[in-house]
Each structure stands twice: as C-alpha cells, then as structure tokens.
Amino acid sequence: MAVCIAVIAKENYPLYIRSTPTEDELKFHYMVHTSLDVVDEKISAMGKALVDQRELYLGLLYPTEDYKVYGYVTNSKVKFVMVVDSSNTALRDNEIRSMFRKLHNSYTDVMCNPFYNPGDRIQSR
C-alpha cells in the first residue's frame, strides 16, 4: 500500500494529494514536492526518449530513509507521485507500475467527467 498519492498538474500545483497517516501530512507534502525535482530532471533528461517509447513510468524517484517515492507522468505532463513505505519490500516495480496504471485510468475518468473543470482540485469520494 502506498502511504501517499499525489496528482500534480502540469504547472506543479497539486490537483489531489492524500496520505494515509493523516497526522504527518506535511511531511508527505514536502516529500512529494521535492520529488518534483527529480520528475523535472527525468523529464528533461530523457524527454525525447520517453515520448518515443511511450513510457510514462518514471521509476523510483528517490529513496529516503523511510520511504520510497515513485513517479509517473502522463502525456499531458500531469504527474502522479506515490510514496511507499521503504520497509514494505513486497512492492516491486511491476506492482508500482500497475498501481500507476490504475491511477491513470481513474484520472482519465475524472477528466471525462463533464462537470469537472480541468485544473480544479480533484475531489475523491
């Protein structure tokens, strides 16, 4: 299970961010925010290659002592960031990848909602 999931707009403001231990929300906000550095880096470093390969998954962005941060970027440069507990060794790359894919699908569903204005905060039920 991911401890924090964030959907971040192209302009780097959060569309949706939620963490499961809610008392330490700030830490995760900071974590997600700093991980954008790496996302930027990865996008700019291999932007071309990414487009060519249609690979949206960015892999491990950076590990900290307690958490691992994974990234995913859609074609419209909307970023998904997932924070996973480092001690959770059961989560492999493939699981993370499929989680991102599911997240992408639900994001697409949100975008398809005619009552949703692109750019607004996303509400989750």
Partner: protein, 1432 residues
C-alpha cells in the same frame, strides 16, 4: 605462471618476457555469449614448486598458476637423455597428477652453444626429440626461442612467435580455469539454501573473481561481481524480514559496536576484509567494505557522481536493514555513521574529480548534504547541543559513548585537517562547535539552494533577487581578490568557498566599510552593488533597482558592459543546469527553527534565515502547495519574531536612517518607488531634500518596526490559515492582539496590514436600497464581514474611506447603474477572493480562435487559409511573479474627509454585520474606497472595494406639478387635477399657500372635503390634512399643510372649463357643397381630434418669487356640424352633434334660435325627445323646419344650444353650462327649379337601349329679382333682367350617352315662372330602370369677375366626372370642354390678362332638382342579340 626447468636461463630471459608479454592485446572470447574483449595480459612468473599446484577444491583464482612452462637450453642429445628428459618426465607427471593440462616447453637455442658442440645431429634436433617424447599430439606445446638475448631479425621473429603462442596458451588456460571457477562459484551459490552455507565464504569466492577482473582492468565486470553480492545480500535481508531466515545471517545481527563510517580512501580495506573472511563482520562492516570496493571501482570508471547516488541509497538501505534485522544499535550510533559516511563520500568525490564535473552533478550532492545535516541535527538534539542550557551530564555521557564508538581515527586521514572524523568529534565537543559545523553544512545546502534560485529562469522576477546576492558576492571577490572570475556556474561555488562560511556577512562588512568610508569615490554602480549586498533592502527595492532602473545606477559604461555580460553568462549557464532546487529548499525550510535560533544566538546575519524562508515561501506560493506554505510561514513567523525581539541589531546608523526615511516617505508600507528615490537622493548627497518628508520626531526603532510589521503580517496570515490547528491559530491571533495592546502607549504609530487575512468583505447592504439619498437624509450601510480569526477580536474602529466627487449627472447615471448592477433589495455581494494559490492555467483567458481565409486579389482564388488566435498578446504575456502576495506594497492609509466609522466592534469568527450610519451632506457621488479595521495601532486595510460601491446624495429644488387625473381634461364638466408639491430642501411652514390667479373660463371648484396627503421621500404616507381654500375674485389661495423637507404633498382639485363653441369657420358650412367626397375625407380626418382650449394658470409658490405658469389643456367633447336640407321650397336645418370623448353624455334641452330675431322666420323643432343619450364616439342629429312668412327671407343667424351632463354620474353639484354652437344659413331660398324628362323616341312606347331618346330639361325661375341675384351675371336691358346660367348634363353612372351638346349657356330672364327648356338627345346604354342623368346649373360670370370665384371653377374642373386632360395641346372634341380647357388655361395664364368667362356654382338651397330620384324604364333593344359582358 609457473616456470620450471633451467632457472638461470629463465632469469636471463624474464625481463624481456615480462616486458613484452602485455604489449600486444589479445582478443578474449568469452562463454555465455558475453561480448569478446581485447585485453592485455600481464602475468607473474614463479618458480615451479609442487605445493603451488592447486589442490582439489581450491577456490583461489588469483594465486592460481595458469600455465606451466619448462625452460631448457639443452642442445646436446646426451645431456638431454641424461638429465633433461628425466626432469621433463617428472615435471609432466606432477602436472598430470594435478590434472593440469596447460603447459609449454620452451627450448632456447643459442648459436654460441651450438658452435661449441660439434656432435649435433642435424636431423633430429632436441626440439624434435622433445616433441616426440612429450608432445605426442600437441606439437605446438613445444616452442623454440632462438637467441633471445641477441638483437637480430631472427631473434625478433622467434620472440614474436613465442609471445603469440604464450599469450594464446595463457588466455586459453585462463579462460578454461575462469570458466571452471565461475561454474564452481555458481554451484556454490546454488547451494545457498543448504543449512551450512555461509555468505562470507561465498563472498570471498566471488570477490576473487572480481579481483581477477580488476586485475585485467575489467572494472565493469569487477563491479558486476560486487553488485551481485550486494543484491544477494539485500535479498537475504529482505527474505529475513519476510520470515525466511538464514543461519549465516545471524552473524550480521550482532549489536553494532563501532560506527566509524565508510572508508573510501583505501582501494581495499583489508581490515574489514579479514573480518568478513573470519565471519566476524557486522552488517555495517560488510556494507562498508562492499561500498568501498564499489566506490573504488566506480572511481576507476570515472563515475564519481554515481558514488554519491549509490551512497545515499546505501545509507538509506543500511538503516532499513538494521531495522529489519532488529540489530540493536545504540542511540545516535547510526546518525554518526551516516554523518561520517556522507562527509566521507562528499570529500572523496570532491577530492577526485574536478569542479566542472561536480557542478554538473550537484543534484546528487544535495541529497548527501541534507542527509548529513539532518543527522547532525538529530545528534545535536540527542547530545543536548541545541538546548538553551547546553548539554547536561546525561547528554555528556551519551556523547562520550558515541565518540567511543567511533574508535580511533584512521591513520590515512589522521593528518588531514578536515576529515569527517575530526569534524564530528569537534561538533560533538561543544555547543559552539556544533553550531559552527551545523551552519557550515547548512551553508553548503544554502549555497546549492541559492544556486538553484539563480538558475530558475522561469520565475525570473522573483528569484532575481537571490541572483543579485550572488553577483554582489562576485563583486566582492573582485574587490578583495583583484581577480576576475570566470563567469558561469562554477563561479558561484567558488565564491561561496572563498567566503565560507559567512559569505554574506563578511561581504556585508566590507561593503559597509566601503560605503561608509568612501561614498564619494565609489561609482554609483558600486555604491548600489554594495548596497544590495547588504541585504537590508526589501525585495521590492531590489526588484526596482535591478530590473527596471538598472541603467540608472550604472555609472561607468565599462562596468556596465561587464555587468551585462555577467548576467547573460549567468543565466545562460544556469539555465541548462538541472538542480534539485525543491530538495534544497526543503533542506532549508525544515530545520530552520534550529538555524535561526543559532543565528540569533550568534547575533550574526539573522536576516539570512528569513531571506531563505521568504524565498522558499514564494516558491511554494507560486506552485500552490498549501501545507508547505503554512509550515514555511510558521517558521517565518518564528524567525521574524526572534528578529523583532533582538534589541541591538548590528546595522550601521546610516542604514537606520535610510530605512526610517523609507518608511516615513512611503507611509508605513514599503513603497519601492519612494525607497528608490530616497536612495538616489541620499547617495547624491542631497539629504536636504528629505527633510520635508520626515516628521519632526520619530520615536521607536524603525527597523524593529519593519520586522514587527512582517511578523504581524505573517501572524495574521497564519491566524486565518485553516491548515493550522485551532490552538496555533489562536496563538498567532493572540500575538497580534498582544502587540496591539503593547503599543497603546505609543500613539501615532500605525502598522498597516492587508485585510484579506484578517477578514473578508462578504456583502454590503444599503438603506435606502437604491443608495440614493437626499442631502441631509440618513443613509445606512450594513456590511457583512467574515472574520477569519479564530477568536472574537475587539476592533477599535471599522471605517470605510469614502471618495467624494461632484458630478452633476451622477444621479441619473447611478439610476441606470442600479438597474444593471444592484439587486432590487440593495445588497451587493462581493465575490469570494480568488484562491490564494494561482493556478496559472485558470488565470489565462480562453483562446479566441478564428478562421482566416485570404483570396488572391486577381482571380479571387483561395491562396491562404489558417487559424488566427486573436488574443495572443494575452496568452503570451509574461507571467507576473507572485511576490505581491506577501508584499505589503501599495498599502497605505488613505486620508479623506469622508469616512464612515463604526467604533468598538467585536468581530466574532465568521460572519458579522456592521452598520454604518451617515447623514448625507453635500450632494454628489460617494464611492466606497477602502475598508479598514484597527486594533490598536494595527490597521487591517482592504485597499480597494471591488466591485465599485457608490451612493449618491442629491439636493432638490422645491417643485410643483399639476397634472390631470385622467388622460385629458374635458371641457364643460368638472375634472380632477392633481397637485404635487415636492418640497425638496424647502420645509413647508404653517401658513404657506399657493396663490392661483383665476382664469375666467376656468373655475376652480371648492369642495368641502379636500384633503392633502403628505408623503415622505420614500413614498410612505405621513399625514393628511384638510385643505384650506379661499377664493376671491382674482385669486384662489390654497393653504398647504406643513411638511418637512424632502417630502411630497399631494392633493386634488376640481376644475371646470366653461365650454365655448368654436367659431364656425366659413368652410365648415356645408351648404351647397359641390365636393361631397372631399368633405367626407375632411370629416374623417378631424373625427378623432377634439378641439382643445388651453387655460394658463399662474401660481405663486411660497418658495419662489417667480410665479409658476401652468397650462391646462381642456378638450371639447363635442363637434357640431349643420346642414341645410330642402324639398322644393321647404327648408330644414339639421344639426349634428358628435361625441368625441370616451364618456357618455346625456343631452337635454336642445334649442335652436335665430340670433337675428328676424320677423316672420320660424324654427319649428322636429325633435321629439327632450333628453337624449349620446354615447361615446357617436352622433345625434337635430332637425328644425324653417318657415318664413316674408319674402325673401333674410340670411339666418342661428345658435344651437344643448344642455349636457355626464350620463353615468349622479347629480352634479354645479349646474353646467349648455353647449352652444353658432352658425349662419344663407341663400336658402329656392330660385330655380330644374326638371328633366326623358321621352322615348317618337312612336316608341319605351326607351330602348341603343336608340336615341329625347331629354327635356326645363329650368324654371321661381322668384322675381332678389338681392342675391345682383352680381355680374345679371344683365339688365330695358327693365328686363336676365342672368346667364350654364347648364350641364352629366351622367356619372355612364348609363346614358349624351349625344351632341351636353352643356350650354342660357340667358335666364329674372322673373317668376320664367322657364327655359332645353332639348337634348341621349341614348341609354343599359336596360332597366335607369336614373336620369344629372343636370347641373352654374352661374356664368363674365371674365372680370372677382378672383375668388376662380377657385370654384378650378375645383369644378377637378371634380368633373368628364375626363379633362390638362395638357393644353390635347385636342378636345367637345366645345364646352374646350372652353373649359381654355378656362383652365385662363387660370394658368391669368397674368397675361386674357378675358375669360368663369363659372360659379349656385348654392344648394337655390336650386331644386325636382326630378332627382326619378327613374325611367329602358327596354333592351329587340334585335340586339349580343350581350355584352364586361368584366372588370
């Protein structure tokens, strides 16, 4: 390599051999599909010893002899047989026993020796013998090396052959053995699930392989071995965590006793290796060793930044693994280890690669720096080094334990001053040392962060300032070092290093020094550069200085060009670097409570922390991260609070002065323009200019004021922040309140804060709702304010600043505006403020795209098509930096005379209603501008109220309106008229009255119960009063009830316009009109409009010396026409009364009297009813018979009168005057009787169609000569009078065709019973009863008659049923027509004076056509078989 045989010989050859062997590369083909590689073989030769041969199960590959060589120089068969052969056999046997197949026999041929021995068998050389004896199938295992020590071509050749052979064999053997080794290793690895398996053993085996690869310079392969080991170990740890424990792993679970960090300076840390070999290593030992090896290899591979990257991963995973394995670690031990390791890695990297490489890979280093900082921080907390009191004994004990765990410093670093070990030891030794080291590292991160800020080109404006710091730092270098650094990224770091750890404070000192000592010698540019470096200015100042006015401050052109170059270079270079600025920022933000506390304690550069925080905050705001914004603000607040509390702030008095000037000049706010201007003035030595702006005395430190100001601002933002807990919000709110209460003894000093954090204006309600009030009236404005504060706040005063403008037309404008913008109930709702976090895409306007088609002008074919975006300028506009969100720029208290105030209000959290009451004074438009709330000296200001809210005050002159109640007033009956007195600014006193001058034709009816009603301005009824009306002959006085100003008095009066008949116009006479059609048309036209009469009433009002004239228009409800009817000689007068009004009337007492009272004339009414109802839009006719006894009767002057009253109403109080109509009847006496008769053709009984009949017209004169005959037509001859008449037979219905002359002039004798007969031929055109043709009679006047009669002739011609062509040149066959045509020409050519006769119609009463209405039967002609049907 294992060499046996002649050792002396080998020794002599060895130097050449070992030198030559690695010279040529060999292609190494590898198993498992690995790519072949070119390698250089380098080998070691050892003397053959049997014990060196590998035994079964030996794992050592490094010491393994790959090739066994037997050297011999033997060239003598005897010797060979005696010793060498035995020796060789023995050697071979040994090898076979060890199943070694890689061997080589080298026979060295020496010419010198050959010559000595003569008994050489030429056929079978020693070589052949050896080959025969030992190499039964592998003849290539014996090589000849001839004359190795000589320098000849033969020697060279043989050497080459030998070396190639040797290399091939060596590689073969190596490959074989390596393959075997790898297989063995794999086998060993497969056994890892078995109980007895040991990781350490396996580690040694695989490391052997790595060593071999390393030896072969195959670092990549070597690294792979270590990575495999790493992965294997990690996997075990993970599995252990999952419950799958391996026995060997328990070794690694022993408690950690030593934490001396990574050692990366030695290629192989033998100490640790031995520990592993002895299976005594701890997890940290293993990891350290493994990483040091990996690091070594990576550095060989020239990938130092990968070291940094891996180091961070390693450190993280080690911490995790220790947790996972539940290894007991003393508190702080891991922190020490990580800290040391981080620094070790950083130092190692910096030591081994050049600056450029580091700069391009800063990203990886930020992580290590911040990790180290984090760890040092936690160590600081652990050892009590950050507490106020310093460490206690417990903390000291812990510190000692930790230091013990570090062990002794390693010999290789003992001599370096900056070793991590020494750093840590020092840092833990005392509070001061700790702070120093902590800030040092913090400075490292800060440098990276600042580096970021200057890099980020996107937020140019916001981050430019930080760039300024950097550049000023560069300038500093120039000043101090007299050295021009290379522009670019590397520079920044060097700069930092030069002045580390206090780059800015040192800079400040020197700048300040320069500035104060040599203000005149420094160029303006340098002055400002120094100034910037001082970090005192707010960001706004910097922005203004450097962005817009940069040119102004650059004194010397040379300098300026250099400066430009720097900037450009800086941006260019930095633009490409990817820097993890967010991480760096986080590193700065997170631990800042520690940083600024230490900063504060050390009393050095305390704004620095604030500056960092402001920078971070700006970025978070720009990217819209709510929680980080809140957190950073919290930090900032704490920081600012500390700054504000500092009593003595080390700033030169010069700057105190400047700042105080700035503050004063720009209000309390930081008005950047003012500041800039001041700076310029100051430095230009024109301080005198400032004096007017400075208040005479200013107490209180201005700088602390700024700080307090920013602290209060941050506090207010935080107090309204919903991300904080209730307690925190209350705390910050309390901070503001306590500040406010403290400052109460310091009057006149104000702190202006933006309103939006304090409260939000929700809606506004005007009373009166239309927001228009008369001068002196009371206006109520009720605002709803949503307090954002968590607790009730007592506000001293809430005020709305009002802008007053006099605009004459504003009242009307406002009315329009009201209908558009205001809801009917006068509530204005303010839109909720846009989210604090600007989502840039939301603020962008929508694309306005339109299609564009261009056609070529020549052939109109389409040659260009495209899409145009019409609002590109909007979209591509540079995004403004968000700095204004926090900046207080432009907030100033507006002063104005018009202020709505409300004192002493307590704002509860949430919505509050506040009511302002004001009495309107001057008329004009009042615009609500600024809303402000004051809590002590703290003013919360909403600079602009948007949308615009206005109210209007008007002043009005007293006015009187008089208007009828109904649509129009009718004359003759009492009608109500409403009087409206709008008092305006005039208050009606008791006794004021309206004086109406009377008009004769209009009566003002005074009723007993006339009431006046007084209304207030908003149309509410105030009072009623009886109206006092006094009438005299000329004046009616109406006493007004008392009414205050801006009220309305309304009352009604009845007026009666006396009806008067309009004078009958000449042309309204319908007697004998020859143009009935036209008359009818006229009638229709006039049907709808009533005749009106205007009555002007002049009224004297008490408020004015001038009298008001009011015109009342009354309409006459009736229209009357009369006509004369005659039958033979009997005459009747008919009067038609037409009701034009909407009302029904009752008519009574109709009467017609002769005004002339002629004797013998009598009017006999034929009307039966005395009372008649006349309905709206209908007519009533009255007829009188006119009889006379005396002949001829005189012209009759009549007056018709009829009484009328509205039919529906009850009895009226006043008697109404009858309606009268006067008219004249003339020439009603019949003079001629015309009689026409049609007789069938002679012999025929009836008239037939198509056959001629005779028309007999007889004109009989009925009277003798009368007065009326006396005109020009009268001809007198011998007492015999005759008059000329023209007759004309006209058949309008075309029933008859008149044959021959249809008209003629006769001379009629003027005598009774004189008769003139005319005979004419007419032909009926149709069958049936046909009316006779009309016979008309005219007076035939001679040409010199009056001009007036011409009109009649004209009209006659026009209305003639015969077609008359008006063109003179047309030929007309009828003579009469021709004559008429000439009449016409006469009319048109009258000026020529041609004498032409004229015609005058006889008045209708004078001619009686007795045959009118007669018909004659016409029979269709018998032989007419053709029936003509005309279809029209």
């Amino acid at each position: 390599m294992h060499s046996a045989g002649d050792q002396n010989l080998f020794t002599s050859i060895y130097p050449t051999l070992s030198q030559q062997l690695p010279r040529e590369p060999m292609e190494w083909r590898r198993s498992y599909g690995r790519a072949p590689k070119m390698i250089h073989l380098e080998s070691n030769f050892v003397q053959f010893k049997e014990e060196l041969l590998p035994k079964e199960g030996n794992k050592a590959l490094l010491t393994f002899p790959f090739l066994h060589i037997y050297w011999t120089e033997c060239c003598d068969t005897e010797v060979y047989k005696a010793t060498v052969k035995d020796d060789l056999t023995k050697w071979q046997n040994v090898l076979k026993a060890h199943s070694s197949v890689d061997w080589l026999i080298v026979v060295v041929e020496n010419d010198a020796k050959k010559k000595n021995k003569t008994n050489i068998l030429p056929r079978t050389s020693i070589v052949d013998k050896i080959r025969n004896d030992f190499c039964n199938k592998q003849s290539d295992r014996c090589v000849v090396l001839s004359d190795p020590l000589k320098d000849s071509s033969r020697t060279q050749e043989s050497w080459n052959a030998f070396l190639t052979k040797l290399r091939t064999l060596l590689l073969m053997s190596f490959t074989k053995n390596l393959g075997k080794f790898e297989d063995d290793m794999r086998t060993l690895r497969e056994k890892r699930t078995e109980p007895g398996w040991s990781f350490c053993e396996y580690f040694m085996v695989q490391e052997e392989l790595a060593f071999v690869f390393e030896m072969l310079q195959q670092f990549e392969d070597a690294l792979v071995q270590y990575d495999e080991l790493d992965a294997l170990f990690s996997q075990y740890v993970v599995n252990f965590g999952a419950g799958d424990g391996a026995n060997w792993l328990t070794f690694f679970c022993q408690p950690v006793k030593s934490w001396n960090g990574l050692v990366l300076r030695k290629p192989i840390d033998m100490e640790k290796r031995e520990l592993i070999q002895r299976q005594e290593a701890t997890l940290l030992d293993l990891r350290s060793y493994l990483f040091s090896r990996q690091c070594t290899l990576l550095l060989f591979l020239q990938r130092p930044w990968e070291v940094a990257q891996r180091a961070l991963e390693l450190l993280h995973s080690c911490v995790q693994e220790l947790k996972l394995l539940e290894v007991s670690v003393p508190p702080g031990a891991l922190d020490c280890w990580v800290f040391l390791s981080c620094l070790e890695v950083l130092q190692r990297i910096e030591g081994c690669c050049d600056r450029a490489q580091i700069d391009s890979n800063i990203a990886h280093m930020v992580g290590l720096w911040s990790y180290a900082m984090e760890k040092l921080k936690s160590l600081g907390y652990l050892c009590g080094l950050v507490s106020e009191k310093g460490p206690n004994s417990e903390d000291l004990n812990r510190t000692v334990d930790l230091l013990a765990g570090l062990g002794a410093e390693r010999p290789e670093t003992a001599n370096t001053a900056q070793s991590p070990y020494k750093k840590l030891q020092e840092a833990l030794s005392s509070v001061e040392a700790f702070e120093k080291h902590y800030l040092l590292i913090h400075g490292g991160v800060g440098a990276l962060s600042r580096f970021k800020q200057s890099c980020s080109t996107s937020a140019f404006g916001g981050n430019y300032i930080s760039g300024c710091c950097e550049v000023s730092a560069l300038d500093h270098c120039r000043i101090q070092k007299r050295r021009i650094p290379v522009p670019g990224t590397g520079l920044l770091f060097r700069t930092w290093r030069l002045s580390s750890p206090w780059p800015h404070s040192e800079l400040n000192d020197s700048c300040l020094f320069l500035l104060v000592r040599f203000p005149q010698t420094l160029s303006a540019y340098w002055r400002f550069k120094c100034f910037l470096a001082l970090e005192v200015m707010t960001e706004e100042v910097w922005k203004v200085l450097d962005l817009s006015n940069k040119q102004c401050f650059i004194g010397e052109p040379k300098e300026s060009r250099k400066n430009e170059g720097w900037w450009e270079g800086l941006w260019k270079d930095c633009g490409h670097a990817s820097v993890r600025w967010r991480s760096a920022m986080l590193a700065l933000v997170m631990p800042n409570n520690l940083v600024f506390a230490t900063f504060a304690r050390r009393k050095r550069s305390p704004q620095k922390a604030e500056m960092y925080l402001q920078g971070a905050l700006k970025n978070y705001l720009a990217e819209g991260w709510a929680l980080p914004v809140t957190h950073t603000r919290k930090q900032l607040a704490e920081c600012q609070k500390h700054l504000g509390q500092m009593e003595k702030y080390p700033l030169s008095p010069v700057f105190h002065e400047i700042i105080s000037h700035c503050l004063m000049y720009g209000g309390v706010a930081h008005n950047e323009c003012a500041v800039t201007a001041l700076l310029v003035l100051y430095f230009e030595g024109k301080r005198g200019h400032l004096e007017p702006f400075c208040p005479p005395s200013y107490s209180g430190g201005p700088h602390s004021l700024t700080l307090n100001f920013s602290y209060l601002q941050t506090s207010s933002l935080l107090a309204s922040d919903h991300h904080l807990t209730e307690e925190e919000r209350k705390y910050f709110c309390q901070e503001i309140l306590s500040y406010a209460s403290q400052q109460e003894d310091n009057p006149g000093h104000k702190v202006v804060l933006p309103m939006h954090s304090f409260a939000r204006l929700k809606d506004l309600h005007f009373d009166p709702p239309n927001a228009v009030v008369h001068a002196g009236g009371v206006l109520t404005v009720e605002i709803t304010v949503c307090s954002q504060m968590p607790i009730p706040v007592h506000v001293d005063q809430i005020a709305v600043n009002v802008h007053f403008s006099i605009d004459k037309n504003n009242y009307r404008k406002t009315a329009e505006w009201l209908t558009k913008h205001k809801t009917s109930n006068g509530i204005i709702t303010f839109p909720a403020e846009a989210s604090q976090f600007p989502a840039s895409q939301n603020s962008l306007p929508a694309l306005e795209l339109s299609e564009m088609l261009e056609r070529s002008p020549s052939d109109n074919s389409l040659h260009t098509t495209g899409i145009i975006c019409r609002n590109v300028h909007m979209l591509l506009r540079r995004q403004e930096s968000v700095s204004s969100l926090e900046a207080p720029s432009g907030l100033a208290l507006e002063d104005g005379a018009h202020v709505l105030k409300c004192s002493s209000v307590t704002l509860q959290p949430g919505a509050n209603k506040i009511e302002f009451r004001t009495q309107a004074k001057e008329p004009g438009t009042y615009t609500l501008r600024q809303l402000r709330a004051s809590v002590g000296p703290v003013w919360f200001v909403l600079a602009h109220i948007h949308p615009i809210v206005q109210y209007d005050v008007y002043s009005q002159e007293p006015q009187l309106h008089v208007e009828p109640l109904a649509d129009s007033l009718l004359a003759g009956i009492p009608q109500k008229v409403k009087f409206t007195v709008t008092t305006g600014h005039y208050a009606v006193k008791n006794g004021d009255s309206l004086q109406l001058s009377n008009v004769e034709a209009m009566l003002i009816l005074c009723q007993a119960e006339n009431r006046a009603v007084v209304y207030s301005n908003s149309r509410e009824e105030c009072s009623t009063a009886l109206l006092r009306i006094q009438s005299s002959d000329k004046v009616t006085s109406i006493g007004l009830p008392t009414a205050p100003a801006y009220h309305v008095i309304e009352f009604e009066l009845e007026v009666l316009s006396l009806p008067s008949a309009p004078a009958p116009g000449g042309d309204t006479s319908v007697l004998g009109t020859p143009e009935p059609h036209r008359k009818q048309k006229d009638m229709q036209r006039t049907d709808h409009c009533m005749v009106t009469t205007d009555h002007k009433v002049s009224i004297d009002c008490p408020w004015s010396i001038y009298s008001t004239v009011i015109a009342l228009t009354f309409s006459v409800p009736f229209r009357t026409t009369h006509s004369l009817l005659s039958a033979g000689t009997r005459k009747y007068v008919q009067v038609r009364v037409q009701n034009l009004s909407e009302l029904d009337f009752e008519l009574s007492d109709s009467n017609l009297e002769d005004m002339g009272h002629a004797a013998g004339l009598r009017l006999t009414p034929l009307n039966t009813h005395s009372q008649q109802l006349i309905h709206s839009k209908q007519s009533v006719f009255f007829v009188w018979e006119l009889t006379w006894t005396q002949e001829p009767p005189p012209p009759l002057h009549c007056r018709f009168s009829v009484g009328f009253s509205p039919a529906s109403e009850e009895r009226l109080t006043v008697s109404l005057k009858p309606y009268t109509y006067e008219f004249q009847v003339e020439n009603f006496f019949t003079l001629y009787n015309v009689r026409a008769e049609i007789l069938p053709a002679s012999g025929a009984e009836y008239c037939r169609t198509g056959s001629l009949c005779s028309l007999e017209v007889s004109i009989t004169r009925l009277a003798d000569l009368l007065d009326v005959d006396k005109d020009e037509a009268l001809v007198e001859s011998e007492e015999y009078f005759s008059t000329k008449l023209m007759y004309e037979v006209v058949d309008n219905s075309s029933n008859w065709a008149v044959c021959g002359k249809s008209c003629g002039v006769i001379s009629m004798p003027v005598a009774a019973q004189a008769t003139h007969r005319v005979h004419m031929e007419v032909m009926p055109l149709f069958a049936g009863y046909l009316p006779l043709p009309d016979v008309r009679l005219f007076k035939y006047l001679p040409h010199h008659s009056a001009h007036a009669s011409q009109l009649d002739a004209d009209s006659w011609i026009e209305n003639d049923s015969l077609s008359v062509d008006k063109h003179l040149d047309d030929q007309l066959d009828c003579s009469s027509v021709r004559s008429r045509g000439s009449t016409h020409s006469a009319s048109s050519s009258e000026h020529k004076g041609l004498p032409m006769p004229r015609l005058q119609a006889l008045p209708a009463g004078q001619v009686f056509n007795s045959s009118t209405g007669m018909q004659i039967l016409v029979i269709p002609s018998q032989d007419d078989h053709v029936l003509e049907v005309s279809v029209t």
